[in-house]
């Protein structure tokens, strides 16, 4: 029988994590489905389980200067209800799963599960989210795109717990989110697209573009974005085909039971074109 731990506070949790190599369990919605066995039997966990969903230190949402700090064990509903949560993140969350799941599942869990189709990830990439990861001795900050290294792969050490997600508070003139799922609600993502932009005097001064579920990790390219920045609307319209060509090789989805690689790639690029042509106006 697998051991379970319910620490009183984060310090205790980090000690247990270090000594027992226990798996952090916040909302546990992915974990419970992933380890599910037959009704009436206990889900088959192989490592000890460390409950962290109750720790107040991991459930705060606060503003510090120009940053929004979201505790890793905040459930998705609470993040959705917070007025400071950026619009694209709210939109991403409200298109996730169902109300019942959102009342339990956490953004920390969505990040650490690191599915290529993770619904919060494209927005977090686009918003330049940074993570605070702690172990018993210290905390470290790491940008989300360095934390995630591949499908289901991240740099969380086996003595660490994801503590916080930091999102810079910025105003965008354009905020566009599109999820293409297998149906309109409670659907896994076939692909998703995030587009954010700041425009000054018809010139693009900042742009963020991210694609989800179409590559091993979220697709975002600062080099491509730098290419777009500085252009005005007129110039941009001439560059669109080239921009699409720049993104195309980075978008490499797979065929699976939900959709085809051809569809996912074609629609990703169509959404990109639509965003650049229509949404930036």
């Amino acid at each position: 029988m697998v051991r379970t731990f319910r620490p009183q506070n984060l310090t205790e949790a980090l000690e247990i994590r270090k000594n027992k190599k226990a798996i952090p369990f916040a909302g546990g919605t992915d974990l419970m489905v992933g380890h599910k066995r037959w009704a009436g039997t206990i889900p088959r966990f192989v490592s000890p389980v460390l409950f962290i969903g109750h720790l107040d230190e991991l459930k705060e949402i606060i503003i510090e200067g120009k940053e929004l700090h979201i505790g890793s064990a905040c459930n998705l509903s609470s993040i959705l209800e917070c007025e400071y949560t950026p619009l694209v993140l709210k939109q991403s969350i409200s298109n996730m799963a169902s109300p019942a799941i959102r009342n339990v599942a956490t953004m920390g869990g969505n990040i650490c599960n690191t599915s290529p189709a993770g619904d919060t990830l494209p927005a977090l990439y686009a918003l330049d989210a940074e993570l605070i990861v702690a172990n018993a001795n210290r905390e470290r900050n790491i940008p989300i795109d360095e934390f995630i290294t591949g499908p289901g792969q991240n740099t969380l050490e086996d003595d660490e717990i994801l503590k916080e997600i930091i999102i810079p508070i910025e105003q965008f003139d354009v905020s566009y989110h599109r999820k293409v799922g297998t149906r309109k609600a409670t659907a896994l993502s076939k692909l998703s697209f995030i587009g954010l932009a700041r425009i000054d005097d018809r010139k693009i001064i900042d742009i963020r573009i991210a694609f989800g579920a179409v590559a091993p990790t979220v697709v975002r390219s600062e080099a491509n974005e730098d290419f777009i920045i500085g252009n005005n609307m007129e110039e941009l319209s001439w560059l669109i085909p080239e921009i699409i060509e720049m993104y195309s090789p980075q978008i490499c989805p797979i065929d699976d039971q939900r959709s085809t690689a051809q569809y996912r790639k074609a629609v990703s690029l169509r959404l990109l074109e639509h965003f650049l042509r229509e949404e930036l106006k």
Binding site: R37, W38, A39, G40, T41, I42, R178, V180, T182, R183, K184, A185, T186, A187, L188, Q257, R258, S259, T260, Q262, Y263, A266, V267, R270, L271, H274
Partner: protein, 713 residues
């Protein structure tokens, strides 16, 4: 009388269901009950060379082919499917054995230790594969469970004389019933008698199967239906298999044995709607009049024969749709493949056949440049016409009124024109379908079943309905009591109707084929009328009635000629869609439906059947995607097999056209399945209208639409 019966009353089972006190099979517990889990084939086709079973702890059992005292064949139409696999397995998921015991974790442990040694055989994985004859057949000489043909008029002559022939091939996919309550049974063995409880549609089917499996006298086998959480055909034949397995387990262990399916298991291994390939050839004269139709229907029956014979027949009898076609040839074949056996699902062959004929008619109307309503009206059946099998349509057919009504409700004609000429990213489309459903069992079925009902009045004035038909959500518990109460003019509270127990009720036939109200309810109305005459007699009164078709119904099963059904219900659906051409996602804007089901026994319950059936039809048309690769179902969880949620379903506006049927209770005909048949078709047709591209298969996936775009269509 008939004007007032339709007025809705609260369903009799609402409060128990709302409060969670209604007991479904998994809510039941027996003392010393054991649990069972099935070990299943992981190969689509293989010989079982040997089984290595670990030493079993006390109180744990294996139930397999050796524990079938009678005949190890499930009686459905023929005896091909075993309760437990013997020397070969024919589909992924075929049951090999049960592990039974008190602790579920231990059962899982034992199962994980069982080793099955297979010798793989070359599987047949598609209709094309089965037809080709390249591989060792699974069934008979040629992998055909059944092969039928019938014709009318002189199709060869008509085709020879034609000016044009339009030929198209249409395909439909699997559909999973996805009743919210998975399959489940509990077998109990006590005092030499077996009782099996379970969710099901046909207690006597199960009873007969268990009797033969045990090889016992029929008094020793009892089946009791439990409150059933949805069925839609998926619990028509499958329970016969698992009732048998639970019975054998109860007998061997001496304990009650509970077998409840997990959702993924249920999706993977229980019966599905038959995938189909339907080829239409339509012959025209120079003026554009239809001279003849030649329709070739192929169903993928999966690994065992099951009900494929009857599903195919029903499909064949709908093959030319609601149209009077003077010359026709209809061929049909159900093939054996090494995939999950297919069976009954609301519509039962009609959705596949109507998809093909309705899309063919739409395609023809498009080619001829004629408004589809006008075009279809031209050929629509009328009273006095003969059906495709040469039966006589004796009752009023209100197709013109149905079409007019639905056009008024939806503004179909105007929108259809308008939407053909749209541009921009968002395209709108509107489509419509016209269809019917034959009421009751196909062909001779009703006369073969000879369903018997009994009404029993006790001395305290309560009247009990004794039938084998089951409530599965459609409202039978309420509707049939209403019919009896209304006829007798007594309060509905005085009419008793419990979940059937085969020890107590006669076999009034299965709860299928949309027959419960029209056939069984019809008998109940007659019996109640007779009881009314005798009401003042003292003591207990019992009246039984047996169904027989009216004498004027003639049917020859050999030639498939005559009245395939005693009567028909009719319907039209219009579906309006919005398509985002960037993603090719389809949004359903609204659905309109007009139905002639004779008369409504209860308007709200009928509306429930309409909206529920339409929702399933819409799912069939777009998001319910299910493929099989190498014999394995790819969308085998509720996460991956998508049924519509509240956010996917549009508003549905429906209207009924009254058209009382003289032989139905209070004029009612059939409704349960009709309501599913047309929705997916109208959806596909709407997509066609929106995008201008032809749709030849459902479900219509954005992936396929996008491919059309990318290929420049």
């Amino acid at each position: 009388m008939s004007e007032t019966i339709g007025k809705s009353i609260p369903r009799v089972d609402v409060l128990d269901k709302c409060g969670g006190s209604a007991k479904y099979v998994d809510d039941m517990k027996f003392d010393n009950m054991l649990y069972a889990k099935t070990l299943r084939s992981t190969r689509p086709r293989a010989k079982i060379l040997s089984l290595e079973i670990p030493a079993l702890p006390d109180g744990y059992y294996i139930i397999d082919r050796n524990d079938v005292p009678g005949r190890n064949r499930v009686r459905i139409l023929i005896y091909d499917q075993p309760f437990f696999a013997e020397d070969v397995v024919n589909y992924i998921g075929e049951p090999i054995l049960l592990v039974v015991g008190a602790d579920k974790a231990k059962i899982l442990d034992i199962i994980s230790q069982i080793e099955v040694h297979y010798e793989d055989l070359e599987p047949i994985l598609s209709i094309e594969d089965a037809e080709s004859g390249d591989k060792e057949p699974i069934f008979g000489e040629d992998n055909r469970f059944v092969d039928y043909e019938y014709s009318k008029g002189d199709p060869d002559k008509a085709f020879a004389a034609s000016a044009t022939i339009i030929e198209n091939e249409y395909r439909t996919g699997y559909q999973e019933q996805l009743y919210l309550e998975p399959h489940g049974v509990i077998g109990v063995f006590r005092d030499g008698k077996v009782t099996v409880y379970g969710c099901m549609q046909c207690p006597f089917y199960a009873r007969n199967a268990v009797i033969e499996g045990l090889g016992w006298d029929e008094e020793r086998v009892q089946i009791i239906q439990t409150t059933t959480g949805g069925a839609f055909g998926g619990k028509e034949e499958y329970p016969s298999l698992i009732c048998g397995q639970a019975a054998f387990a109860a007998v061997k262990t001496g304990h009650p044995v509970k077998l409840i399916f997990e959702r993924t298991e249920d999706i993977e291994v229980t019966t599905k709607r038959h995938p189909s390939i339907v080829k239409h050839r339509t012959a025209f004269d120079a003026a554009g009049n239809i001279l003849a139709m030649d329709v070739d229907i192929k169903f993928d029956g999966g690994a065992y024969a099951g009900l494929s014979d009857v599903v195919l027949q029903r499909g064949m009898f709908c093959a030319v749709g609601a149209y009077d076609i003077p010359n026709l040839r209809i061929g049909g074949r159900a093939f054996a493949t090494n995939t999950v056996p297919c069976g009954a699902f609301r519509g039962f062959g009609a959705p596949q056949a109507f998809f093909a004929v309705e899309m063919q008619m739409q395609n023809i109307a498009d080619k001829l440049g004629i408004d589809p309503i006008d075009f279809k009206l031209r050929y629509a059946l009328k009273k006095g016409d003969t059906t495709s099998t040469g039966g006589i349509l004796r009752d009023e057919i209100k197709i013109p009124e149905i079409m007019r009504t639905i056009d008024d409700m939806s503004n179909f004609r105007d929108k259809f024109q308008k939407y053909e000429n749209e541009s921009g990213n968002i395209r709108h489309g509107i489509g419509f379908s016209l269809f019917f459903h034959g009421c009751g069992f196909t062909g001779n079925g009703e006369n073969i079943i000879s369903g018997k009902i009994t009404l029993r009045k006790s001395s305290d004035g309560a009247v009990e309905i004794l039938i084998s038909n089951t409530e599965m959500g459609q409202g039978a518990l309420t509707a049939l009591r209403k019919i009896v109460a209304k006829t007798l003019n007594i309060p509905i509270e005085d009419v008793i109707y419990e979940n059937p127990d085969t020890d107590r009720v006669p076999d009034s036939g299965p709860t299928v084929a949309s027959r419960t109200t029209v056939i069984v309810g019809g008998l109940l109305e007659i019996a109640a009328a007779e009881l009314k005459e005798r009401w003042h007699e003292s003591g207990e009164i019992e009246i039984s009635k047996v169904y027989k078709h009216p004498d004027y119904i003639t049917w020859d099963q050999k030639s498939l000629h005559g009245d395939a059904y005693p009567t028909y219900s009719w319907g039209a659906n219009v579906v309006e869609v919005e398509i985002d051409t960037i993603t090719c996602e389809i949004t359903l804007k609204k659905v309109w439906a007009v139905f002639d089901v004779g008369m409504a026994i209860d308007e709200k319950m009928l509306r429930g059947q309409i909206e529920g059936g339409i929702a399933q039809g819409l799912g069939y048309g777009n998001i319910e995607v299910m493929n099989s690769n190498d014999g394995k179902i790819q969308q085998n969880s509720i996460t991956d097999y998508m049924i519509p949620t509240a956010s996917d379903l549009p508003e549905i506006e429906s209207q009924l056209i009254d058209n009382p049927y003289p032989y139905g209770p209070f004029g009612a005909k059939c409704a349960g399945e009709l309501t599913l048949v047309g929705a997916g078709i109208a959806l596909a047709s709407a997509v066609q209208n929106a995008l201008g591209s032809q749709i030849y298969k459902i479900p219509v996936r954005p992936e396929d639409l996008l491919e059309e775009f990318e290929n420049g269509n």
